[in-house]
Assembly symmetry: C2
Homo-oligomer: 208 residues x 2
């Protein structure tokens, strides 16, 4: 049984972008499997009393974040252009990623949809943009979109979001590793991806 | 002229603790001088509409933070015990560190006061605790406390806090590097200390 990392992400989340682009390769290098767990931050922020992203509500924090993301992407060697609209979520994109999380094309679709927003400044909230990105990843895009918007698949994203809330997630990206026997560890933020992967591989390398 | 890193910290701040304990050694290894810039987060949080630390206002975030700090301290090999009271600021400690920021004993005093709170769970808001920690760092503690609580030295902490707000700081620890000619870069969070030091040494190693 190989080690697994749950990757909890929201398409609107700026710090999820660099994490999404590198997690699969980084995990494979360490023999760790990725579980793709898209969720919606909106209900979680609202439960905390936020009306929007903290980066919108606190302008100083928002200004800093954009510069920080720019530096991080440069370090990581990935393209970045500040989206003309933020936060730009993608309920359809998240539904698709949740519905088909186990299929091999999903990781490529997730990366492409993140790049549409954070590299090409496209409106990933528009169904036609999602359809186009999906069509490049898998042959039967139209049928998959129909299925993902109907029960039972539509329910998957709601389940993820409810589980995120139950797990105490409060932001994205978040990573969960471990198992029911030895316990789970939660890591929050793009900065913690490597720590989470190390934990997944060696269980408790950081234990006090 | 050697490179400099401004270290903006608040004694109550949990993530400032591991940064405070390692910054001097890390900076020296890279030939970078540390400017100690204590400030108060209270006025900055209040200006953002927070009544207390975000870790108190958002319990899920607070629970995560304590576990994360525990892991970070274990990684860094420093002792940590969760304080029985949080946030525990130290206006007197911050006044002293601001008033005597240029003196060679200040770095040791700052580390000792952080350890009093985050290793020994002592009430650093109590003047007698600060006096004891100061007395271990410098001979004429009583006279220095008197001077730090009177003008003109008392003003230094207020100036730092006002400058922090003017610079757009929104949390601690923060690091500022650069100069007036080529511009300044702001880094937020213990996670960014190494990036800030690299920037201070090479100016723009992360430039796009």
């Amino acid at each position: 049984m190989s080690a697994t990392i749950e990757f909890w992400f929201e398409f609107a989340s700026s710090y999820s972008y660099p994490a999404a682009l590198r997690i699969e390769q980084a995990a494979q290098a360490g023999g760790v499997a990725v579980e793709w767990r898209p969720f919606l931050l909106g209900p979680i922020f609202r439960a905390q009393g936020y009306d929007s992203s903290p980066f919108v509500q606190y302008p100083a924090k928002g200004r800093y974040m954009w510069r920080d993301i720019e530096r991080l992407c440069a370090q990581q060697g990935i393209a970045f252009r500040r989206p003309s609209s933020f936060p730009r979520t993608s309920v359809l994109g998240a539904r698709l990623a949740a519905a088909y999380a186990g299929e091999p094309w999903v990781s490529g679709f997730v990366r492409a949809l993140y790049r549409a927003n954070f590299e090409h400044d496209r409106n990933i909230d528009a169904p036609e943009v999602v359809r186009e990105v999906l069509a490049a990843a898998v042959p039967d895009a139209a049928a998959r979109i129909d299925a993902a918007q109907a029960e039972p698949l539509k329910q998957r994203l709601r389940e993820n979001t409810e589980q995120a809330q139950a797990l105490g997630l409060f932001g994205a990206p978040s990573f969960r590793v471990g198992d029911a026997l030895s316990g789970y560890e939660l890591f929050w933020g793009n900065d913690r991806l490597d720590d989470a992967l190390a934990w997944a591989q060696h269980r408790h390398p950081l234990q006090c």
